[in-house]
Amino acid sequence: MARAALPGRLNWQLAKVVELVEETAQTTSIVLEPANWQGHQAGQHVDVRLTAEDGYQAQRSYSIASGPEDDHLVLTVERLDDGEVSPYLVGVLQPGDELELRGPIGGYFVWNQSLAGPLLLVAGGSGIVPFRSILRHRAAVGSDVEARLIYSARSLDDVIYREELDTIAAAGDGVDISLTLTREWPEDWTGHRGRIDGKLLDEVAWPATEMQRTYICGPSSFVEAAAGTLVDSGHDPGRIRTERFGPTGK
């Protein structure tokens, strides 16, 4: 499971659903056992393909939520009410079912310990998913690269992996996590409020002079805004990697 993805043909394979874990009201993690998984790097994704009895097919991409060193492949899917695929994955799919997928895919949005830091991760909504893989990999290999995560969610109930993120932040292992809630927050909320802007990035990100390596993931408009703000503050666009989700997943 810890080997890097091998080059060559990218074949579709079946993965058995082992377990479903509800992360938030709208989001579920799907724990999978693929027939022939070669391992992955943190930040990669899989393509998932659904086939109806009459042959109709729909395909979407999902970031891998599990770390390369974890026991199972995990995808975390946000259910979009007007979606075509996500209401199936979060609502119909059951343990014991098989899911057709191919991967791992992608080299651009990968982080591994050979990449020097510091590491800035900027997540909007379900954009947090690949960063869970990155942070798990970082911990598994005992990396001492300093990391900061800025995670924007609508409300506390929408924060995915909340317990895991609290644990990581409390571990004092070189990972700082800043949450910003954009639509509602508890009365005693001491975290940030509102969308990610220049002021928040100035407070939380390292100065541009620190040559941080930045990854931004989330809906297209979120990514455009965050990348634009960083570049406007003098950050090197060459050290920023972006991954945009579409309105219906990716």
């Binding site: 992608g106 651009y108 297209s220 945009r244």
Partner: protein, 95 residues
């Protein structure tokens, strides 16, 4: 509608080229901007995937599936080495 980026067609490109292409750098034939495929704007909800330059919005690549076979047109996106290799034999690269 918002565009996604080249990460969204990574699987299709792997099929056509037989290798990872998200980090392939190419030059837009319309405006000369260089960038990685992962950073191009991609319109997926179409009878094909339309890739556009993130600087000038000109169409750089178009990916269609004709009877299930992936076909890519790279006429307006000049790939730089080492990504400028020919695609796999059973797909087409139309000039």
């Amino acid at each position: 509608m918002d565009a996604v980026d080249g990460n969204a067609i990574a699987g299709e490109l792997f099929e056509v080229f037989g290798s990872e292409m998200t980090m392939a750098v190419g030059t837009c034939a319309h405006c000369g901007a260089s960038g990685m495929i992962a950073e191009q704007r991609v319109y997926m909800r179409a009878p094909g995937a339309v890739v556009r330059c993130s600087r000038c919005d000109g169409v750089t690549m178009v990916l269609v599936r004709v009877h299930g076979r992936a076909r890519i047109n790279l006429a307006c996106f000049k790939l730089a080495p080492p990504y400028d290799h020919a695609p796999l034999a059973d797909h087409q690269l139309t000039p």
